[in-house]
Amino acid sequence: MLNLLNEAINRTGIKADKTIKNLNMNLTLKIWRQKNQNDKGGFESYQVSDVSPDMSFLEMIDVLNEDLVKEDKDPVHFDHDCREGICGTCSMVINGRPHGPKEGITTCQLHMRSFSDGDHITIEPWRAKAFPVIKDLVVDRTSFDRIQQAGGYVSVNTGGAPDANEIPIPKRIADEAFDAATCIGCGACVAACKNASAMLFVSAKVSQLAMLPQGQVERKTRVEKMVAQMDEEGFGACTNTGACAAECPKGIDLSNIARLNREYIGAKLKSENVS
């Protein structure tokens, strides 16, 4: 296509100072393939050619999958939904980093212009005992749901919606609670942590409610139950390396983990739960 275009320019006789360059890339992908939970799995290499720098990373895999389907092969399975960075499903570790080399984004927000022609890209699923691989790059993250169900909720009276601003909340507190609430539960914190710890996730979920008046009713039982569930699922402990916050697409801060620790200490000291 570009050759034709350049030829046409030549034929016009106009002296073009630049030929139009083909920016499309040829890439070698090394992707984790695993049939099911019980399969051992392994890496397979694929070539994708003519990848536009404007594609998102997921679109690039879509192109690969089209080729695979045409060749009657099993396409690469991967989780995706909103493709705009809010659903948190597009879990993959790209060249050793959750959601790839850029900060503050999910995989669907990563564009191929972050790579260069000829690159070798290794793509792996989240690795954690609590996130077993279902197939290829798809992992089971229901452990996060179970942690949420254990305590990540508030008691609300049924009936008419209350008036806005009926309960005054200082702006700074509201902002901080909202920052914590931006957690999309993608699991990048677990994927990045050397201990596969879920502390950043749990701390965001505990924080968003602990700071607000509506969250006070279950405040102590919430943190006790969520931490107990976190342990039950087999997530590791926090060594405070900060790898989680560095990879978090929503920029959840480490101060939330300190708050979780405070909430835990407070609950264990003051709650009446002795079981």
Partner: protein, 229 residues
């Protein structure tokens, strides 16, 4: 399990134990450094021996020593439990390792550093602490206090032993370069005003205290060589 032991058996609970015992050990190291510096007093070890004598027979210090043993024991046991749990949390490793630059390499090696310190600790107990209670050494001439200082002076005449000691102190420094501030984060202390101070103190401590500890055998060794010439 009672509610109390349960509170310290979760991952956060075990980290609280690491943090509290870690801070206690940090305080202990200051006392240990001050004591050791007496070896350089230039009095043939008299001040050091007197200090050691006091530390052995003072009732309060004796109680402190039991607490210190408990502190080490809990730190080591919970440390090993956490190392194992953390390893089990990721049964399959990544083919390409995580390269995010913000995490300090010291923070990723807390476990290995701890194990090295444990090995050093065992050698250290056998080489020095043993003589405090179990294999009493001769008294200093003209006094009735044990001459532990001579034991130390002789040990550090070996360049290999000095090197081993210096390397061990470097590892303690790395362990605390991350550990000092980490212990406060574990306790939930994270504040715009105080966290930078804690981080600064941690860096200062992790350099000054291990360096002081390591300089003592180096100076003893240099003294030994220069006296021989």
């Amino acid at each position: 399990m009672s509610w109390f032991t349960k509170a310290f058996s979760t991952t956060i609970g075990r980290k609280l134990v690491m943090s509290l015992t870690g801070i206690f050990l940090i305080l202990f190291l200051i006392e240990h450094l001050i004591g050791n510096l007496l070896l350089l007093n230039g009095d043939g070890g008299l001040a050091f021996n007197e200090f050691a004598h006091f530390m052995k027979y003072n009732r309060l210090i004796q109680i402190g020593e039991v607490v210190l043993f408990g502190g080490f024991l809990f730190h080591i046991i919970d440390g090993i439990i956490l190392i194992r749990k953390n390893r089990k949390s990721r049964p399959v490793q990544y083919a390409v390792s995580n390269k995010s630059e913000v995490t300090s390499w010291a923070s990723k090696l807390m476990g290995p550093f701890g194990i090295i310190i444990l090995v050093f600790l065992i050698v250290h107990m056998y080489d020095f602490f043993r003589f405090k209670y179990f294999s009493p050494v001769a008294d200093m001439p003209g006094t009735d206090i044990s001459d532990l200082a001579s034991l130390v002076y002789i040990k550090f005449q070996s360049v290999g032993y000095v090197a081993f000691y210096v390397i061990a102190m470097a590892v303690v420094g790395f362990h605390l370069y991350h550990g000092f501030q980490s212990a406060f984060q574990t306790l939930g202390v994270n504040h715009v005003k105080y966290s930078p101070i804690i981080k600064g103190l941690g860096v200062l401590y992790s350099i000054v205290v291990p360096l002081g500890m390591a300089l003592i055998p180096i100076i003893i060794y240099i003294n030994h060589i220069t006296q021989q010439i």
